[in-house]
Amino acid sequence: MERTTLDLWVGMFVVAGVAALVMLAMKVGNLGTYNVSDTYKVHAYFSNIGGLKPKASIRSAGVLVGRVTEISLDTKRYEANVVMSLDKRYQFPKDTFANILTSGLLGEQYIGLMPGGDTEMLKNGDQVKQTQSAMVLEDLISKFMYSKAAEPAK
């Protein structure tokens, strides 16, 4: 085969392969959906995070506003320290309330942010003071059992 036709075919092959990779990265993967550069980080203490994992989504009014970047145990307080990176476009008041919620009955856990009424906004490195822990099924059941046992018998 002629050298130029050969080069043309191989060039087309390589371009198609690279295009498939780019398409996988952008359309199938998450490279096209979030930008790491324009975020700010806040952290919050939870007494129990349940099944929350790094990269879990952070939503406010159902809209994705950020991701959980780091989870560690603070040994001074014995509470979970959750670092969240939020999109710069979305600013939240200082007295925002962070909840660990579950999507659906058995779905993934995520953090829901409920904005308060403060005029000052959260900045990079701030702490979200008001938090509510994840609901753990065993705790719920034991609470229910105790309250049943405490009821006077009829």
Partner: protein, 262 residues
């Protein structure tokens, strides 16, 4: 005496196997040493890229499309039981990008391009073309083996990526166009679940490893084949069998390293 003979036979086999592995390792080392020359004469690699990569395109695309369509059908049937049809995109994409793309593309590559490489080099040896090259002071490893090796290593990840992309399109055709899964949740759940570094790059690394191993086995079997018609045919068979087994076993090892605890 029969016991001693059996033990001797076992020992003979083990020594032979170890000896062959040693020769293959030396062959790999020599290929890497002489690759510099083949990069300077890049048109040799381009020629091999045509016969290994471009000629494998059709089988990769057709196979990828059908594998994706089957995944879409089977995945839908299973997910429907739990009422989570919207996760079909996640299932198809993760299955293809992590496992099926690299593994199936490598298996097809081994049987289409690998067997051709072995037969070609084996026949070159049988017709004494390789000895003729050595006579002319042309190093056969630099002239024949290295360009084929690099062509295989370059084309394998590209073929695997195309396999995955076409397969996801096939899953989309069956799931969204044919069955009627919601298009938005198909793509958005897929994007939320597939991580670029964790899933896509690990798939690319897998296919690079498979490409190296398959091409190396094919070239070594060809170079090592007895210079007879029978020898070449046996070497071609061994290429397909050995490289398929190597792909599947390596896939398990790589998956265990990459995705455990993720």
């Amino acid at each position: 005496m029969a016991v001693i003979n059996t033990i001797r036979a076992i020992g003979h086999r083990v020594v032979n196997a170890v000896w062959r592995i040693g020769v293959a390792a030396r062959f790999f080392f020599l290929t890497l040493v002489y690759s510099g020359n083949s990069f300077r004469r890049f048109h040799l690699i381009v020629k091999e890229l045509f016969s290994t990569g471009v000629m494998s395109l059709i089988i990769i695309i057709v196979a990828g499309l059908f594998v994706g369509m089957v995944l879409g059908l089977q995945g839908y049937e299973t997910l429907k039981r739990y009422g989570s049809e919207s996760a079909l995109g996640v299932m198809v994409a993760l299955g293809l990008v992590r496992e099926l793309g690299p593994v199936m593309a490598a298996l097809l590559f081994a049987s289409r391009a690998g067997s051709a490489m072995t037969a070609e080099i084996g026949l070159m040896k049988a017709t004494e073309q390789i000895s003729a090259m050595e006579m002319m002071a042309v190093n056969p490893i630099a002239r024949i083996v290295a360009p084929r090796f690099w062509a295989g290593v370059i084309s394998m990840p590209l073929l695997a990526a195309m396999f995955s992309a076409v397969g996801i399109f096939g899953g989309y055709l069956v799931g969204v166009v044919n069955i009627g899964v919601d298009e938005g949740s198909f793509w958005s759940q897929m994007q939320a679940a597939v991580d670029f570094r964790q899933d896509i790059m690990n798939g690319v690394i897998k296919s690079l490893v498979f490409g190296t191993v398959v091409t190396l086995i094919a070239l070594f079997e060809g170079f090592d084949a007895p210079p007879t018609a029978e020898g070449v045919s046996g070497a071609t068979t061994r290429t397909v069998v050995t490289s398929s087994l190597a792909i599947l076993m390596l896939d398990f090892v790589l998956t265990a390293i990459m995705f455990r605890g993720a």
